[in-house]
Symmetry: D3
Subunit: 291 residues, 6 copies
């Protein structure tokens, strides 16, 4: 018998707190957006391993996680490597054919593969997909000036539902294609929201590198614990949200209005923040509900 | 956002510790012997409510609990009420027809009903059974001198398997019957062991009022953390076990030899000892394995 | 070759008469109320064995019987044994906590167990239930003056449907509980009617000790062969029904209005009256239809 | 209430006798050979209607009847009509191509159709088949001298099992075909036995115009109530069986040795002899068991 | 390696043409009317074998063919053989009881059996039915003056759907019966149309001995490639269709109005016209669509 | 009515030839290796579109294609683009970490994506996989001198079987990983053979740019139509096979010995060679059988 590492009273207390959530979330689909930033640091391997462990634990207790990832820093690195510079417009990279080709290779052939490999160290759990697979994401040209940057025209969740019903974790690179087979690069936050709506997910969770949404953009103490779609929309309209946060907030608004129970914005750099959020009464970060 | 009541690091730690057990025990059948003593004290209602909460939590995370209960103190109380005295022989009550009748009414109509009612406050979760139902327990006369005291001749687990597959918790009163329909009172520890073997259960757990099995009967510090069927058998043979503990030890030995993975003897009077035992690395009480 | 005991022409005739009923009733749910009086006589064991044989035969030809039983005489006997007297009000026993406790023990632990045991001599066919099991019967307090006497607030037939679909005969003791787990004693005739409605049963059959409903309470020749809910209601309103018959008549009215095809009141003391009623063109006792 | 036409005691008695057989034979496949003679008399229509009623009743109580029929008299009549005479050899009609053609038309297009139509007056219950359908019966040439007279080379029961599982009564005309599609006329008794074996039937029943098998061919009082395959074989070898009975006896022997529980030879001209045989303790005619 | 018998370019071309039809028709029910004339010629056996090969190929690629056949010439031959002459009225044979008997024997016992046997040379593929089987076709008396000539009152497609779902090809002789079991002879073209409607078939195909429907009855060059129900109706009304063609045209009109996608009238004497029609862009004969 | 483009006789002939193959291959799994060379030419887009059309047709007629692809020329192009040169040893590229990274991006993010996109123009038919997904291919280090070049240690076909059972065409990039998550580049011919064996495929088909295997390496007229595993093994041992052909021949040998019915080496540059091979009696290229 190993000595218990924690006080039995605290242990019992936490179990009684956690078990009802485990029951509640059994079979719940949760879409988790994993940011490219988290993968780009010096500590990349261990951060990825810790994320993989959390996803495996969720899956072990009957939750059906769906991972959506970005890869901005990794694309930038590849462009630099081949000596190609990019123009940005409204925070979106202008994507010519060569850039699209490289972005696609980095997102699908590198970032997606790395996440799948980190999960599959634990068993045959994950399968990587892009929006091209089984026509998961049909894309529209957003704006000719931006080149091959796409909007989500439609999500066909069939392949996702089949995979999660077989205990597989889909990991999605956010490349979509139109009916002629032309591919587009799409904002990963937007895809995460659209996928969560299409799956009628229980939760949409953004793992970012900030502790939540601030009421005042410059005041770290103004993180909002719980808010509604309406309030978030007002926040974006007021200009009080910065560039990278805007698509996340819009995705949260669309998702909870589209049938997702709750959306969350957490600090994914705190180890296991995902577990603490899901299985304790006191959440972390910002939670968004519909009304 | 409620403040977390416990340190997030400890919380994450305990979750990472508990989740693999929850995964491991998903769909596992566990036979839990709940002693009549636990129900007889002044604090009866709250002890029963706490036990019911634990069983409901187990069921919520996919475990399939089967409860077996005794009722010695309650039978004694009823016999006193109608002014009937009993003779005991080798620790077993001599059971004439009138005693059997009263024992049956107390066990099935009172103790069993109370446990079922306590569980069903949480929903339509439990169904009470005796060994007579669907011929669950076929009994043999143990010894003519003991009257209607039975041994377990056979357990037909069909009804139990059907109920647990439907998410129902069977609660078993230990009255059995022979082929002619004559009923017998059977030792509840023995029934728990036989039921666990017949179900090929993952675990057999005795909730008693002592912290485990002692190597020296008079030394509270000699509680054994882990032992084997062979060692327990030697312990019984050596006379180092007291009366009420003997049928528990024999049931543990029979169960682990009959295919049950592990048997446990815990102090059921410590609140939620069952949860701490099941979901942390450091167990409590005595664990018995086969070899 | 044994000699046929009956004339082959009569035999063929009866078979041709019975077989269409057997076909018609295949898979039909029938709720059979078995009165406590039938169990209380000197001939108790043989009456019970004969009843058990009939139920087993019904089940053998594909009918799904559900048995509801009372136990008035047995409760009275137990109360006498512990020296407790009861007050009655409007034909209903005033039930204090002690009386409830004893009634529950007698109904669940004695009468129910005896019926189940008599059926299970023929195989693992029957399972005893009370209204507490799987929250089968939710009860309301009827009237504070009557103590723990309940009305049927709701019947959840899930557990019954599962058991009958597995070839099990449920045998129901008429104790129900409220949401807080408090139990109540409920009139067995009322429960039989409510269970029949909840199951949308083909038939509700009362096995009593009289040959049917009389048009004139004192005229044995005035037994009604077939009647309607409206006529029965008028009969009760007119005062022409005696005390013990009233809840039966009300249960018949409610059942046929609640979707039960036919309700019957038969003399259960005539051996095998149940079989003759079900499988021949000429019925026995009183049959009630909706309009 | 109609007056019961029979004494209630006798009625209960017969029901208690019949119900266990009904239970026992639920889902049992029974192959019933219906002789062409039964169809040829002046009373043909009413005999056929009575037979159809019995088959419908069997099917109604869960038995799965399979009917095999002959048509000797009807073929003879047709041959006479077109002015064709036949030669017989060892009791078997020598069958040239024209005779085969006419036999096939009579058996499939007339006798089979009439039986199916009589059954289907009661609902869409029966489907007529010949051995050609779904290659049910593969035939071999018996003997060149006999022309297109076949032996059973193989029975493929697939189509029969599908039909009976759908509640359909197959009615089989005993024409078979070889691999090249050439058809043959086959003895109907032989086919009945082979079909019963291929189906692993519970019973093979010959409805003939005699009360059973006689130990002494000329002694009506020597009808055998129960016998074994070995004894029947000896009876045939001893020459004590007449021509038309021999293929029946051989079919009985082969069937019980091939896995059929019991074979029966009954007088089908006694109305409803089939029902009396199946559902009472005292059988009629001759019963054959394996050892 | 065998030398390819055809130019690989042509081969690839035809495959690319045929494969989409094979995909499209997978699981499609097609009702094929096979005329008695096709079976009556000197070349009968080889025409039947070629037809059987086509049906087997359809079935092999997942189409569900249902064959309906006539037998006029064969009935006429049989009537001649027994020296019976028939009267015709409006192109319909007056059918007395004896004629009906003979027609039934010829259609069910001869023509149907021959088609089934030709198909089953390829395996246990086909089962012969008449409208009597499982009450497939309920018939009405058409006109007392015509004797036992029936109209289709109702088609119960249950048995057909079961057989085709098991990979069986039903072959239907067009004898129907009324509720009393009286049989009638029914026009085979009419039955084919009614069966196609009842099955909601993809196609109804008439294999005739003419190349299609002529706009001018005497002008072989006026064959219509594609037409509508309305146009066909006008054609019949105008008197521009000859006797035998009228019931075919009416059946086409009823079928496409009753939910059948397309009806076709082909020259069944061109070998494999059925395959060329189904699997190439250029059809043969006349195609009928609804509007 | 369109005019038939081909002679109806030839058309019928080819259909009768093709239909049995379509029947035979219904539900058959076929592993098709599509070479990177085919994708590298000036005509890349149209070659890929033609290949995609063939795969879609196979899938349409019930075949279950699994595509394995290489990408040598595309990897070489990428390496040149970033200014990296490679060393080769025994015809295998020496693969350092940077080369592996780029190879992975090209194979998974570019070639695989392009094939999937070309297929999915026809509907949601294809899903791209690498050996990392669901641990499809576990790899071993081949030889330290070659860097991250892997051998196939194991193939887990579970994810492939699930996808093909859902009508999805898996497209496999030949990157595998070991248990620690390290990825390796693996020869695509070898992977194709191992996948075919693991799937117990009906066929393994190499689409190359040569017309088949030559008996004499320099004699274009010596292409072998049909051969055995033993003969191929001798051919390789004799040195009569050139470098790029060797892994194909070894994969054919291993596959047919591992349970694959037939392996084929075809000239994939002839349009629709795949269709002509599969659906006509005269094949193209070289066919390999086991013994």
């Amino acid at each position: 018998m190993t000595m218990p590492r924690h006080d039995p009273g605290v242990t019992a207390d936490l179990l009684i707190e956690a078990l009802p959530y485990i029951r509640k979330f059994s079979n719940a689909i949760m879409v988790i957006k994993y940011g490219g930033n988290a993968l780009a640091g010096s500590d990349e391997a261990s951060a990825l391993a810790s994320f993989a462990q959390d996803i495996v634990l969720l899956q072990a207790v009957g939750i059906k996680p769906v991972v959506v990832h970005g890869g901005g820093p990794q694309i930038a690195e590849m462009l630099a490597r081949v000596g190609k510079t990019s123009e940005f417009q409204d925070g979106l990279r202008v994507t010519d054919a060569e850039t699209l080709d490289l972005a696609q290779m980095v997102l699908i052939g590198k970032v997606n593969s790395d996440i799948v490999a980190a999960l599959n160290v634990h068993g045959p759990l994950a399968v990587g997909l892009s929006g091209v697979d089984a026509n998961l994401i049909t894309a529209d040209l957003r704006d000719e000036k931006l080149g091959f940057v796409g909007d989500v025209a439609a999500v066909d969740p069939t392949i996702l539902l089949r995979l999660v019903s077989q205990g597989i974790v889909p990991v999605i690179a956010t490349i979509g294609s139109d009916e002629g087979g032309q591919t587009y690069n799409i904002n990963a936050d937007t895809v995460a929201g659209a996928v969560a709506s299409a799956l009628n997910a229980e939760k949409l969770i953004f793992l970012t590198d900030v502790p939540g949404v601030r009421r005042e953009v410059d005041d770290p103490g103004s993180v909002i614990a719980q808010t509604t779609a309406d309030e978030l929309e007002a926040l974006v309209a007021s200009g009080a949200a910065n560039g990278g946060m805007i698509p996340k907030l819009e995705a949260c608004v669309d998702a909870v209005r589209g049938g997702v129970e709750r959306a969350h914005i957490l600090d994914g750099t705190t180890p296991h923040a995902l577990l603490v959020e899901l299985f304790t009464d006191g959440g972390v970060g910002t939670m968004v509900v519909d009304a």
